[in-house]
Every structure is written in C-alpha cells, then in structure tokens.
C-alpha cells in the first residue's frame, strides 16, 4: 500500500484498524476451525452413534447411558483423581521446600542445583514413562522391586495391582514436575522485597515466623497458580498410563482421557468417546470455577486486611 499526502486522520485511523484486524485474524480463524468448531461438534457428536466411517446415526442419550453404566468409566474418573492427588500434593509441598532452600542466601552453586532439579522437566513424558516403566517393572529385576527385595519385601506387580499402578504413575508425574514448580515458587520468593525480611528480623521474628508470616502469604497467588495448573494437568493424564500399561490400559490405571482415546481410536466408538469428553469438560469447568471462586475469596480477604 502506498501512502499519499491526501490521507487525512480519519482514513489513517481506519487503515490502522483494518491492519489490526488483519493482524489478529489468523488466531481467530484458526481457533474457529480447530478449536471452537470441534468443541461444539463434540456436544453434537455425543448424541450420535458413529464409527468414524459410516454415516452418523442419532442415538439420543444412549452414549451417556452407556458410559454411566460402564464401571470402567467410574474407575477412570476415580483413577484420575487418585493419581492426580498422589502426584501433585507431595509435589507442591516438596517443590516449596526445595525452592525455599534454593532461595537461601547461604548456599553456593545455586545455579548448578537449580539446573539439576529442573532437568526432569525437559524430558518428554514418553521418555519418563519408559524409564519409570523399567524402574517399576513387575519382575524382580526392576529397580523398585530390587530395592524392596533388600528389605525382604516380595516383588510387587507394579503394572497390575490397584495401588502400585497408581503409585508408579504418580511417581512419574511427581518426578517430571517438581523442578518446574520449584522454579515457579523460587521466582515468586525472589519477587518478595527483602526489606520485609529485614524489618521482621529487626522485630525479632524467627525463621519459622518469617516463613509463616511473610513468605507464605506473599506466595499465595503463585500457590494458587501452581495448584490450578497441576489440577488441570492431572485431569488430562494420558501418556503415562498408555506407555506404562499399553493401549488396553487396565482398570487399575485407566484415566478419563485414556478412556475417551481408547473408545475413539481403539474401539472406533466416537459417540461414547465424545460423551466422555463432555463429562471431562464439565469436571474441568467446575474445578476451574471452584478455583476462581477460592482465589477471588482469598484476594478479597487479603485486600480487606491491607486496608
């Protein structure tokens, strides 16, 4: 486009607006095709019977009836929550402790420690699941079973028993994400002004008091962020059980995303898979709303305290 002197401010403004719409349009076009439409179509598809090839036939609420009468579907929801809890709760506590240690001014080699602790996060989930699949092998030669055998505990069938399956998958989640959360907490801790600690020290506050009265309250938004992302992430667990248990999964280790993936791409029942996706969506939205509610509540009490 050539610019001529004749253009007054109005057309200039217009041209800027046109350019701006042009610049932001790729996102909205792509999102409409690959985000919004599939989302809406999922709702549509959940009322149809479809094998991916033949024409879709209307199926009413039967898909929902089917998954809600399938004990494995309930297991998948329960597993998702149990593994999520086992994997994320200790993870958040441990990463906070490590971040606190990393933030200490006493230590040397801070960057070396930080790098090492962060290293698992760059590993792909597939690789993590393969490595831990051998660590938690059912046979006596697996690392976990070998260590247990030193204490005279017999080989555990990690890939087949109720709690061991969940523990093994939760360990994969834990190992990969601790470093990431540590870095987030550390960044949060470093953004707390040092003067606060100095003032507290002058007032004679002990370290535990500093931790309780300064570090934790100031970290609240970061903690909320970490809890939120960890919750959403664990609801989407899929790769670990697939690699660890194979594409049949097992009732002990199947997750919701695994359930819907298996329905769609192993059994070719896209209708029930969509119904499962809708249920997952409802769960995620409810938890998100809960989280937003809690954080706005906390934010409000904090503000009222300050004023």
């Amino acid at each position: 486009m050539k610019k001529t002197k004749k253009n007054n401010r109005l057309t200039d403004k217009k041209r800027t607006a046109v350019a701006a719409y042009l610049f932001i349009s790729p996102f909205f076009i792509l999102f409409a095709i690959f985000g919004l439409f599939p989302m809406l179509f999922s709702f549509y598809l959940s009322f149809f019977r479809w094998d991916g090839l033949d024409p879709m036939t209307f199926n009413g609420l039967n898909n929902f009836r089917f998954i809600f009468s399938d004990p494995i579907f309930y297991s998948s929801i329960k597993n998702t929550f149990l593994i999520g809890l086992l994997g994320t709760l200790p993870q958040i506590l441990v990463s906070m402790v490590i971040a606190f240690a990393l933030n200490s001014t006493l230590i040397r080699f801070r960057n070396v420690f930080r790098t090492l602790i962060f290293l698992p996060y760059i590993t792909s989930i597939v690789a993590v699941a393969i490595i831990f699949g051998l660590v938690f092998n059912n046979q006596p030669f697996g690392f976990a079973n070998y260590i247990l055998s030193l204490f005279d505990v017999g080989p555990i069938r990690w890939g087949a028993e109720y709690w061991p399956v969940k523990f093994a998958i939760a360990t994969m989640v834990f190992w990969r994400w601790v470093g990431y959360n540590t870095i987030i907490f550390l960044a949060g801790m470093q953004s707390i002004p040092r003067e606060l600690y100095e003032a507290a020290k002058i007032d004679g506050a002990t370290i535990m008091q500093q931790l309780r009265l300064i570090t934790l309250p100031m970290l609240k938004p970061i903690v909320m962020f970490v809890v939120f992302t960890a919750t959403i992430g664990s609801l989407q667990l899929f790769t670990e059980p697939l690699i660890f248990l194979g594409r049949g999964f097992r009732e002990e280790g199947i997750t919701v995303v695994a359930y819907l993936w298996r329905d769609a791409f192993v059994y070719n029942t896209f209708g029930t898979a969509s119904a499962a996706a809708i249920v997952l969506f409802v769960i995620i939205i409810s938890l998100t709303a809960l989280n937003l509610g809690i954080s706005s509540l906390i934010g409000r009490t904090k503000k009222s305290k300050v004023s």
């Binding site: 350019a19 792509l30 999102f31 095709i33 030669f141």
Partner: protein, 281 residues
C-alpha cells in the same frame, strides 16, 4: 548480597539442612537419567538378571543399531525437528503480529477480542479431540505434517505474552515517529518492532519448541504412518515392539533425550527465566 534469611554463621544446622535438601533433590533428579544410560549400555539378559546392573556396560553402539533396525530413528528426529521448528517460527510471527496489534494499534472491540483470547486458554484441548480428528480426515491431512503444524499455530498464551512485552519494551514515540515517516503498520511491525523484541522471541520460542517437541497425544492420533512419526510417537512404537529388549528401548530413549539436554544446558538460564516469567505474569 550479605543479608541472610536462613541461619547465620559459617556452619549451622540450618545450612546443613539446606544442603541436604538440595543434594537429595539433585540426586533424585539425576538418578533416572543415570539408570537410563546404564540400561542403554547393557544387553537385555544383563538387565533381566538379579541384581540388575548399576554400572555402564559395553553395548551402547550395539543397542542403538537395534533401535535403527526397528524404527527410523533419524527420520523421526528430523520429523520432530521440522514440525517443532515450523510451529515455533509460525507461532512467533503470528503471536508477535497479534501482540503488536493489541499493544500499539487502536481499533474497535480491542478489549473484547483480547478477552476472547484469554477465554480460549481455559478450554481443555481434549474436548475437541475427536472432531479435530474428523476435520483432519476431511481435509485429507492424516499422516501429513500440516495436521500438526496448522492447529499448532494457535497460541493464546503467546499473544498474551507478546502483548505484555511489546507494551513494556517498545516506546510509543518510536512507533509514532515511524508512522509520521509514512511507514505502513506492517512495516512498523517488521522494521521497528521485531528488532526490538528479539529477546521475547528467544524466550517464547524456547517454550513453544519444547512443548511441540514433547507433544504426544495429537501426533499419536494423526500421524499413523511410521514414515511421518515424530520422535515421541516412534519411541512409543519402539516400546510396544514385540521383543521386549530393554537395552534397545532405553537406548532409543537415551538418544532421543540427549539432544534436548544439550540444548537445555546451552540455554539454561534463558530457559528457566522464560518459564518463571511466564508463570509470574
């Protein structure tokens, strides 16, 4: 800095405790890597014995040869590289362009559009998985890299990030001056804004690249043919192969992980900084 938060003096219980936590954490972080390396250098029958080996063996090369017999390892690596690089460059371009519009251009409905972008971040990606697959089959993009690359260009977080950076990093006067000189909006973006936001490209680029490189579920769904497998999908195929040769499987995993570790160690600080910035913002 001389201020101290935890403990005082040259040696203290607290200092000791801090080191115990850090050394313990580092060892737990490192052990699986070491374990993977050992197994990648051992024969399957050594791995299957009790006690299992804890020192490196001599079969590093042999195991990797078995990997390349089973999967097209370098082909998969190239596919991963191609897909990750395409999405990274495409995302950086589109996100910075949109971020520039939101940061420096005036247009109607700006806040509404920006709000919409933030809302899309809330939508769980699995919800649309099946219809997405349907769209890809309709487009005839099954086993085609476009199936990964085109949807991969959607990045609400990237637009948000770029808007923040351009808001803070590019002064209004410079944009105005360029406008008075008669530059079109795209020229301003290309010649003025882009050179000023290169650091943001580096940080966002690292995040995007790593995400795409490690992505698994979507490539698994749309890349069925082994010739188009990305590294993660190929590793899964290796893990599922009939003969449970752990030495071979670990070798494939090891060599798939090593390049990323090198890249990480090279850009270590930038990497950690970009991730923590992303969260704190």
């Amino acid at each position: 800095m001389s201020t101290r938060e935890v403990g005082e003096g040259k040696f203290s219980i607290k200092k000791f405790f801090v080191y115990v936590v850090l050394v313990g954490g580092s060892l737990v972080s490192l052990f699986p890597f070491y374990y993977m390396f050992i197994m990648a250098t051992r024969l399957n029958r050594e791995i299957n014995s009790v006690p299992p080996p804890f020192t490196p063996g001599t079969n590093l090369v042999e195991n990797f040869q078995k990997v390349t017999d089973n999967i097209d390892f370098f082909g998969a690596m190239w596919n991963s590289l191609f897909v990750s690089a395409s999405i990274t460059f495409g995302t950086l371009f589109l996100c910075s362009l949109a971020g520039y519009a939101f940061a420096k251009l005036e247009f109607k409905g700006k806040n509404i559009f920006f709000g919409l972008i933030l809302v899309t971040m809330m939508v769980p990606p699995q919800l649309g998985l099946i219809p997405q697959y349907y769209i890809i089959t309709e487009l005839n993009w099954l086993n085609d890299f476009r199936a990964i690359i085109v949807p991969g260009l959607i990045n609400a977080f990237g637009i948000f990030w770029m808007r923040q950076y351009i808001n803070e990093g590019v002064p209004y006067e410079i944009v105005e001056a360029a406008k008075i000189d008669g530059c079109s909006n795209f020229r301003i973006y290309w010649n003025v804004v882009v050179p000023m936001i290169l650091p943001a490209f580096a940080t966002l680029g690292i995040i995007v690249f790593m995400h795409v490189w490690n992505d698994f579920l979507w490539p698994l769904v749309v890349l069925r043919d082994p010739a188009v497998h990305t590294l993660q999908v190929a590793l899964r195929a290796l893990n599922d192969s009939r003969q449970m040769d752990y030495g071979m499987i670990m070798s494939g995993t090891f060599w798939a992980t090593v390049p990323l570790i090198f890249v990480f160690l090279m850009f270590n600080r930038l990497f950690i900084q970009s991730l923590s910035e992303g969260a704190v913002k």
